[in-house]
């Protein structure tokens, strides 16, 4: 049970952090090459998924 609570706390903490996320500054973005951008895009996709799950859960 403790593990469950801890996991839930971590998940909530994670969601809070996503709300206050710090994006890569514009000037850094310009300097990134294709692969770096692809990696970054993947992180953003991941965040979108997490937020979507949160949305779906709240919606239900």
């Amino acid at each position: 049970m403790n593990d469950d609570n801890q996991n839930q706390d971590e998940a909530l903490e994670l969601l809070k952090k996503i709300d206050n996320i710090e994006f890569v500054p514009k000037e850094e973005l310009d300097k990134m090459d294709f692969y770096e951008l692809a990696y970054y895009m993947q992180v953003l996709n991941q965040l979108t998924d997490i937020k979507s799950n949160e949305g779906e859960q709240q919606w239900n």
């Binding site: 294709f34 692809a38 709240q58």
Partner: protein, 749 residues
């Protein structure tokens, strides 16, 4: 995703806008990325072009004019391949990560996953095959201890790698002469080289001195303590003012993070089991999903929103990403991943939560690390390129000399065996440096060890020494060793795969045959019921016992309504019809479809088994009763009393469902309601339930644990692979160097 966008509470315009911006930039850079990949491929074909094109079409047009037809056909293939790869990467990124699986399974990464999966499946086989709860515990603890050993070993290796890497970085800096950002030279001058040779000589470090490359090899492979001494001496001689201690200290600081991360990976095994249990709790049908899904990521996508999803992404994700993000290995790991076609593999890692920690750590800093490591890689590339160009002639001479020397010694197999010994000793914390080049050298090195270390060394040396004197034996040993390890692991893995496809019935059956005594998969023994005394009663009269049997047969639900066997046959037929690989169906889609079918078949088999058991027992009850019935109450009582508890239970059930109202049936029904019979059956049910529950529990836990190992160990291996990349340092110059046999060792859990 749409739901989230429509709901203002969870809207995420910030991320969506950022994604639009990144996709725009990705598309801007796409053409150049394609060109870069095409240049590399063309170079491999021996076709050199100016690297100043701005579009693939333009390059294609020029190559069409200049290349011979046969070459141009290859060029067209390359262009098409790169176009497709990168276009699909961008598309998959733009649409989210759902297409990542196919990419993942065709990438290099899949190879390491496949390898882990092989070993994990082998471990699963061992665990399921173990016949008793105790032996299962022994196997499980064996696996646990082995995993722990790997974790501890890893921690040590990471520590060494970290410190060693930093010293290597400083050595490279010392080797490099720069004017602002431009690299002027990549090697130590003659005088410094002489001093390095003196240093090595002073510490009895011998190496095959064929020139600068061999010297470089010798100093980069020094043990950390000596390397640090040399680095300090060179730093002071060259007046570079590098704070070596501080740099190494900083590298050590990273170790704490690494250590806790390595421990977290250990938690992965527990987590794997938790996840497996959680999945079973939510929906037992998803167990197959766990097996494929954890590896594929796609399943997690499908299951997004389930309560345990956050636990999965928070846990496994942490274990995976913490290492990927924070360790110095990221450069190498990213390098592998960033090889164009592998980029989409990130999507799959991300799907299992691997990238979640980027968010926890702060996206910007995570990405900055990647950028930084890429810059470091570019710097190294520049160094190596200049080094190869500037000293081309010198290198060619040296390589010839190296080849000559190797030809002279021709001790390839000896070197392999020495390598095994040295690695064995390294595992025991006994470092032999430099690596000996002959058994004689090895013996000399061993003589310098402490008594206790010598003892350890001699154990392995004695075992191998004899075989070194026999060439045929050596060859056979090497071949047989490699093949048998491969076959053994492959065999066990295939057994597990077969077991999974068979819905988990194959290995228990095999276990029963291999270990027939006290096997946990044997039917639960039925407890003996108490001896029930009965009061004889001769008052009732009965006739026509055969009628009872007929009635029993005609009305018995167990015979006619529970059509488990038919159901199993129908299902088996369906499964057989679906077993083939359909046209155009990929191997993995086929495999996972089969796993789904096998679960269906397993369900039907369970049902039929239970049904069949009831059938047989009912038949037995019927015959016993009919054969023993005589028209008096004593005989009936004796017959009932002679039934084993399970048959009595079955018979009671039968009588409860039997609607006949003739005198005999009614009397039997009344007699069965006597306390003695009810008590006997109740005791039986209680005991049986208790034993069965324990039995099921152990089997269930075994399966969950074994299945849970799979996702945990996949992550573990990815991390190991990353570390291995780090140890496969970029300064390996001896092209004839023997590749080690660590691969099988890198399989974990």
């Amino acid at each position: 995703m749409e739901l989230a966008l429509e709901n203002p509470q969870v809207a995420m315009p910030k991320i969506t806008n950022e994604k639009k911006e990144v996709v725009k930039k990705l598309k801007e850079k796409l053409e150049q990325a394609k060109l870069n990949l095409i240049y590399v491929e063309l170079e491999e074909l021996g076709i050199n072009v100016e690297k100043n094109y701005t579009s693939v079409a333009e390059l294609d047009k020029d190559l069409k004019k200049t290349c011979a037809e046969v070459d141009y056909n290859k060029v067209t293939g390359i262009i098409e391949k790169v176009n497709n790869q990168l276009e699909s990467v961008v598309n998959s990124l733009e649409q989210g990560s759902t297409n990542a699986f196919t990419k993942l399974m065709t990438s290099d990464l899949a190879k390491s996953i496949g390898k882990t999966l092989g070993f994990t499946l082998a471990a699963r086989t061992a665990l399921v095959l173990a016949p008793t709860a105790t032996s299962k515990a022994v196997v499980a603890s064996g696996l646990g201890v082995y995993s722990l050993y790997k974790i501890i070993k890893n921690r040590k290796e990471i520590q060494n790698v970290n410190e060693d890497n930093e010293l290597n970085n400083i050595l490279t800096e010392l080797e490099t002469t720069k004017d602002n950002d431009a690299i002027l030279d990549t090697r130590f001058d003659e005088e410094t080289q002489k001093e390095i040779r003196e240093f090595l000589n002073k510490y009895d470090i011998s190496f095959e001195d064929t020139g600068y490359r061999s010297l470089r090899q010798a100093i980069y492979t020094l043990e950390p303590e000596k390397k640090k001494m040399l680095v300090n001496a060179l730093n002071s001689k060259l007046g570079r003012g590098i704070d070596v201690d501080e740099r190494v200290k900083k590298a050590r600081k990273k170790l704490n993070v690494v250590a806790s991360t390595a421990a977290t990976v250990g938690v992965g095994a527990k987590l794997g089991m938790d996840v497996a249990s959680a999945v079973n709790g939510v929906d037992p049908g998803l167990v197959s999903g766990l097996i494929n899904g954890s590896v594929l990521g796609a399943w997690v996508q499908n299951q997004a929103g389930k309560p345990w999803f956050s636990a999965l992404s928070g846990g496994l994700g942490f274990a995976g990403t913490e290492v990927l993000e924070r360790l110095p290995v990221i450069g190498n790991f990213a390098h592998t991943l960033f090889a164009g076609e592998n980029i989409a593999a990130l999507a799959a890692i991300g799907a299992t939560g691997g990238l979640v920690t980027s968010a926890v750590l702060g996206v910007a800093s995570g990405v900055k690390q990647i950028v930084k490591s890429n810059k470091a890689k570019k710097e190294t590339d520049k160094f190596l390129k200049l080094d190869a160009e500037k000293y081309k002639e010198e290198d060619e001479k040296e390589l010839l000399l190296i080849k000559e020397k190797l030809k002279e010694s021709d001790n390839t197999i000896e070197l392999v065996i020495i390598d095994i010994i040295v690695n064995y000793l390294r595992d025991k914390n006994i470092v032999i440096n430099p690596v000996p080049k002959s058994v004689e050298e090895l013996k000399t090195s061993i003589e310098k060890l402490s008594d206790e270390e010598k003892k350890e060394a001699k154990i392995i040396l004695t075992r191998i020494e004899d075989s070194l004197n026999n060439d045929t034996f050596k060859d056979k040993l090497l071949k047989a060793g490699k093949i048998s390890i491969g076959l053994f692991t492959a065999g066990l893995s295939l057994m597990s795969v077969y077991d999974i496809i068979k819905g988990g019935v194959f290995l228990p059956e095999l276990s029963k045959q291999l270990f027939p005594e006290n096997n946990i998969y044997n039917p639960v023994p039925i407890p003996d019921g108490p001896d029930v005394p009965l009061t004889p009663d001769n008052s009732a009269e009965y006739s026509n016992a055969n009628n009872l049997m007929e009635e029993f047969k005609n009305n018995d639900n167990y015979y006619h309504e529970y059509t488990g066997s038919n159901y199993l046959m129908d299902t088996a037929q369906d499964v057989a019809n679906e077993a083939g690989r359909k046209e155009g169906e990929g191997f993995f889609s086929w495999l996972f479809r089969q796993i789904g079918l096998s679960f269906r078949l397993n369900g039907a088999a369970d049902f039929a088994f239970a049904d069949n058991l009831v059938d047989k027992a009912a038949e037995g009850v019927g015959i016993d009763i009919v054969n023993s019935l005589t028209p008096d109450r004593v005989a009936i009582t004796n017959a009932l009393n002679s039934l084993s508890p399970d048959k009595l239970l079955l018979f009671m059930r039968y009588m409860n469902t039997n609607t006949a109202t003739d005198g005999m049936t009614t009397t039997i029904r009344e007699m069965l309601q006597q306390e003695a019979f009810v008590g006997k059956v109740t005791d039986y049910i209680n005991n049986f339930t208790k034993i069965q529950a324990n039995h099921e529990f152990i089997n269930d836990i075994t399966r969950k644990f074994a299945t849970g190992l799979i996702p945990a160990s996949v992550f573990y291996t990815m991390i190991e692979k990353a570390q291995k990349n780090t140890t496969d340092e970029k300064y390996t110059i001896n092209e004839n160097e023997i590749t080690d046999e660590k691969e099988s060792d890198s399989l974990s859990m």
